[in-house]
Symmetry: C2
Subunit: 206 residues, 2 copies
DNA sequence: GTCTATAAATAGATAGAC
DNA sequence: GTCTATCTATTTATAGAC
């Protein structure tokens, strides 16, 4: 179920405002995926949305907040996806679905990428309750699945669950996807399957 | 054998110049590893080396060339390492040594990181014969080991060698290393072994 | 809230003396 | 080659009219 459907009441004015902000955040999301935080300029965002830069700053107080809003958006999408993963699947199969989804989002050019070392950006993210709550819920859900999959003997039990979690997160920004795509020798679907294989089965022969 | 040992003749003046440039490139290498290309400023480089910014521009014509020089340096280090890998090891063991080395360099804060989408930077790299030659030689060597390891049945033969190569390259900038390090629950050596395991054996149980 | 115009700060690069 | 001082362009952010 989409989280937007949980909204109950909203005046016409508020709906317009919300729609405008959604358009902004969607544009930011795309630009972050294309060029990254440092290379993305606020002028660019304003021009791409089709409003003046000053108007943008009425909605979001800083560039960092723009990026944080995009991260909240993708976290919401992740939560929606997790909520829709079929419960009849085994824990390992659920984890595989999640990994595949993150890679497909990245190949679609919709995965925002942030520099891990920018401190002002980190501060904005850590100040966003929506982001932290989303991140924590996603991590909790995946953590549960990871431990269940290890208990079943499907996932290597020698790996700390946190390491498995980070390894899955890292698929969302895996440069191998872009490398293989730019080599032009494989379709997107083939690329996803290759990286899925190296991620879960490893490079070694079985 | 270190490549610097192959230098035969050099005047005192040239040696001084070379030493100065080495210091610059080493500083750039460290700053690129710490903050990345976009966040690194030329003022910072100059201050860190201890010379004026204008002097820096006498040695390197642009920020992009500074970064390219750092990439040439790390490529040389990689070539030196490859040349020193024991030939009595199996192809797979050699590849494992290389992967471990790239991760150790990253954990030591000595792996420069460049944005893959910056076009002016890509242009500078593609214009650097030293870099391209180094990259090609490293890729050729690793490609040979990969194919040999697949022929031996040690490496999954269903994977295209290019995908294996990119997967190994990606370990040099794997964010999982930093994530695990900042979690503070593992030593560097443990982190390397964890990522080595997920890389070659995969997440699945065996 | 949206706009035009502008402020304020920063960064890459250069001039010109020594 | 190294320095100080400066240029030029860009970028984040804001003032103020409507």
């Amino acid at each position: 179920m989409n989280r937007a459907a949980t909204v109950v009441k909203m005046s016409f004015k508020e709906q317009m405002l919300q729609a405008r902000e959604d358009a902004i955040v969607q544009t930011v999301n795309r630009l972050l995926a294309e060029k990254g935080f440092d290379a993305m300029t606020v002028d660019e965002v304003a021009a791409s949305v089709g409003i003046a830069k000053a108007s943008l700053y009425k909605h979001f107080p800083s560039k960092e907040d723009l990026a944080a809003a995009a991260m909240v958006r993708v976290m919401r999408r992740a939560q929606d996806f997790l909520a829709g993963v079929a419960l009849e699947l085994s824990p390992l199969e659920r984890l595989r679905e999640v990994a595949r989804w993150t890679m497909e989002v990245q190949l679609a050019g919709e995965m925002p990428s942030l520099p891990s070392q920018n401190s002002s950006l980190r501060a904005a993210l850590m100040a966003s309750k929506d982001y932290l709550d989303g991140l924590m819920q996603v991590s909790d859900t995946l953590g549960g699945w990871i431990e269940a999959a290890q208990k079943e003997g499907a996932l290597n039990p020698a790996l700390p669950p946190i390491a498995v979690l980070y390894t899955l997160y890292a698929r969302a920004c895996d440069p191998v996807l872009e490398f293989l795509k730019s080599s032009g020798q494989h379709t997107d679907a083939q690329i996803v399957e290759l990286v899925m294989s190296t991620c879960f089965e490893g490079l070694n022969a079985r």
